[in-house]
């Protein structure tokens, strides 16, 4: 998972309320293949017209917002299903931070599995941030500083935000669930050492172990079948 400490980037205001995960990544685009291009699928219903032609009036198709790494959003952003794909789509496009008036619960939690920072600001603050951004025609970036819990606007105003300490730490350290578990790796090693004595059968006669023993016994090299495609 990617760390997040500070980010200075273009922010794209998409202030519609209740943008659900099906809008963030439409299902047909999600199931088009085993691994669709999540970034290309982001806001698929809005970003494209007539199949895959960029919709010139959608903000993410208009410079400088084609490079947006921050999204400004309205109420209840990411409501709907539990699909983590919505987070993958935003991050696939390059978005690392969403500043919204409020978030869908599951989406909010999913953000921390991949390294997307969700920031909650009051509706007034989100609107004034958006207004500042839209009043300039150039690519004026804003800065989101998770270390100091501060946003610096285009005009240099500082806005404080709050975030749960534990969640902040996950992002600052780039720790995902696996990273957290692996902090206990020595315990896992010790458990398995003990367990091998206590319950040797769990580790002994498994398919992979038997195949290996067979290979050693017959002096053959283990080769797996070539993948045919």
């Amino acid at each position: 998972m990617q760390k997040f400490d500070r980010l200075t980037a273009v922010a794209a205001p998409i202030l519609t309320d209740n943008i659900d995960t099906d809008q963030i990544i439409p299902i047909p685009r999600m199931l088009a293949s085993m691994r669709p291009d999540y970034g290309a699928a982001l806001f698929g219903n809005w970003r494209y017209v007539e199949g895959d032609q960029p919709n010139p009036s959608f903000i993410l198709n208009k410079p400088p917002f084609t490079n947006a790494k921050i999204v400004l959003a309205g109420e209840n952003f990411g409501c709907g299903s539990s699909r983590e794909h919505a987070v993958w789509a935003l991050m696939g496009f390059g978005v690392r931070c969403v500043i919204a008036m409020s978030f869908g619960d599951i989406f909010f939690n999913n953000c921390f599995k991949r390294g997307l920072l969700p920031v909650v600001l009051s509706p007034d603050l989100v609107r004034s941030l958006a207004a500042e951004i839209m009043s300039t025609s150039e690519a004026h970036p804003i800065t989101v500083n998770l270390v100091d819990r501060k946003i610096t606007t285009v005009e240099g105003t500082e806005i404080n935000f709050s975030i749960d300490d534990g969640l902040r730490e996950i992002l600052l350290e780039g720790l995902d669930e696996i990273g957290k578990i692996l902090k206990h790796e020595l315990d896992i090693n010790a458990f398995q050492m003990r367990d091998r004595q206590l319950r040797p059968w769990i580790y002994e006669a498994t398919p992979a172990a038997l195949r290996q023993q067979m290979a050693v016994a017959t002096g053959s090299v283990i080769t797996s079948e070539p993948i045919k495609r």
């Binding site: 998972m1 293949s33 085993m34 691994r35 983590e84 599995k113 995902d176 669930e177 696996i178 957290k180 578990i181 692996l182 206990h184 790796e185 315990d187 896992i188 458990f191 398995q192 367990d195 319950r199 040797p200 059968w201 769990i202 580790y203 002994e204 006669a205 498994t206 398919p207 992979a208 172990a209 038997l210 195949r211 797996s224 079948e225 993948i227 495609r229």
Partner: protein
């Protein structure tokens, strides 16, 4: 010493570490993977530059998005090809054992894992599939996990878990003729509801369970998830030990002796306390058939589907009305003699040798009724071979059933085997949800014997009236 349930004993043995927040890191002894739900985990590992920690505790198998056509290949069901190749590549790169669909060990993951002795009593086993609880039939603590957990197990061989509450369901009484494990579990879910097991690990116990063959125990445990319980199991006993002994990957020699005496200790202590206890009098249970779109929508075959007007709770009433409308049934109707167009004998619930025997016994040289498509899909390639060894395939084929290769098939319509829109299917699988067997399909869950009898009659029948 505090008296413990069998579940507590197994759980405690697998606690690697207790964490501050009340959860534990639980060691996973066996990680089974299939082609539909494992590649996301490998993608994640690759993205993070991580390796599979214990390849020897991990096994892949191809069985979900797979054609059941005799002579099938990767492209027989085209949309599955990418998934099959990807599992092959992922397991090969990591050095994980793969049971390819051409392998004689192949089968639906929950059928082949215990059949081969990969799943063992007292072990923890996970798979990215909700019916992993099936393997509880031999006293394993087995449960389904999501994509991100697949990745966690691959990388760490443990899972952060909170201990579920304990429930015991005691089955006591006489098992009436024509009543099978499938009827016991459908009846139970009908009584306590599809959500009653949520948050629990369920132990099945009592005289009826003691007498139940291991294959029936698998059926019972398989549907624990249909009442919301992630774990369902039967504590190991003589039957369990006999079942496991001599299996391909079961321990041997000294290891076996040690394992056997260990497993024999994994029973529930006399005084152990459960968070919830339920007793079921099996004498009351007849052959069960579902009428609606949840496994809890179930009645004795000679009963009547409910009349929503008589249900006082508005939410339940609306549910029942919706289910009846979807199923094309009138309130208060009888299911007996309801014409059907499909019969599916298969799935991880009911596709083992005993199931096929029970189904074949109903045929008695008669033929599948005109206008009915009936298929038998053995749960594993070895079940298929064993059935052929007994001549069951001939009985089915001569009667007009399709005799197919092992895979999930019509259970979840993840390959070409589907029930047509508006058509009815008597199915030995586990879910009668809307659209589960194909868009607008209508599923009636029942035992293999009931399904076979329906195929012959072309309608739902009460097997007790057939005098077999």
């Amino acid at each position: 010493m505090t008296p413990l349930t069998a579940f507590d004993k197994i759980w405690n043995l697998h606690v690697v570490k207790e964490l501050n927040d009340g959860s534990v890191l639980l060691h996973i002894d066996r990680h089974m993977m299939h082609e539909l739900s494992s590649y996301q985990g490998f993608d994640g590992l690759r993205g993070a530059g991580r390796r599979v920690r214990n390849i020897e505790l991990t096994v892949g198998v191809q069985e979900h998005i797979l054609s059941t056509d005799p002579g099938r290949n990767e492209d027989s069901f085209a949309p599955g090809a990418d998934f099959l190749y990807t599992l092959r590549q992922n397991t090969q790169e990591a050095g994980i054992e793969l049971v390819d669909f051409r392998d004689s060990r192949q089968g639906i993951v929950h059928v082949m894992a215990p059949e081969l002795g990969i799943a063992l009593p007292g072990a923890t086993l996970v798979c990215g599939d909700s019916h992993t609880c099936t393997v509880g039939g031999i006293g394993a603590v087995s449960f389904g996990i999501g994509s991100s957990q697949v990745e966690e197990v691959l990388a760490t061989q443990v899972l952060p878990m909170r201990k579920p509450m304990r429930m015991r369901v005691v089955f006591d009484g006489i098992l009436q003729p024509g009543v099978f494990a499938k009827d016991l579990i459908l009846y139970l879910i009908g009584k306590i509801g599809a959500g009653a097991g949520t948050g629990y690990a369920v132990e099945y116990a009592g005289p009826v369970i003691q007498d139940l063959p291991i294959e029936g125990r698998f059926t019972l445990c398989n549907m624990a998830i249909e009442m919301g319980a992630r774990v369902g199991f039967v504590a190991p006993d003589d039957k369990t030990i006999d079942y496991v002994r001599g299996r391909r990957y079961a321990p041997t020699g000294k290891s076996w002796t040690a394992a056997e005496s260990h497993w024999r200790q994994l029973t529930t202590d006399e005084e152990a306390i459960f968070d919830r206890e339920i007793t079921v009098d099996t004498t009351l249970i007849g052959p069960q058939v579902t009428w609606g779109t949840s496994p809890q929508h179930v009645i004795n075959v000679d009963g009547q589907v409910p009349d929503p007007q008589s249900i006082s709770d508005p939410e339940t009433r609306r549910n029942a009305e919706q289910a009846l409308a979807y199923m094309g049934l009138t309130p208060g109707a009888s299911l007996i003699d309801l014409p059907i167009q499909n019969v599916f004998i298969g799935s991880c619930t009911n596709s083992r040798l005993d199931d096929l025997r029970a189904a074949a016994a109903m045929i008695q040289k008669r033929r599948v009724a005109a206008g009915v498509r009936a298929m038998v899909v053995p749960g594993s390639t070895s079940v298929k071979r064993a059935a052929e060894g007994e001549g069951l395939d001939r009985i089915f084929i001569d009667a007009g059933f399709e005799w197919r290769e092992s895979a999930c098939s019509m259970c979840g319509a993840v390959n070409a085997d589907k029930v047509g829109p508006g058509e009815r299917c008597v199915s030995t699988s586990n879910r009668n949800f809307e659209g589960r067997q194909g868009p607008n399909s209508r599923t009636h869950l029942a035992s293999p014997a009931m399904a076979a009898a329906a195929a012959i009659a072309g309608r739902i029948v009460d097997i007790r009236k057939l005098g077999v």
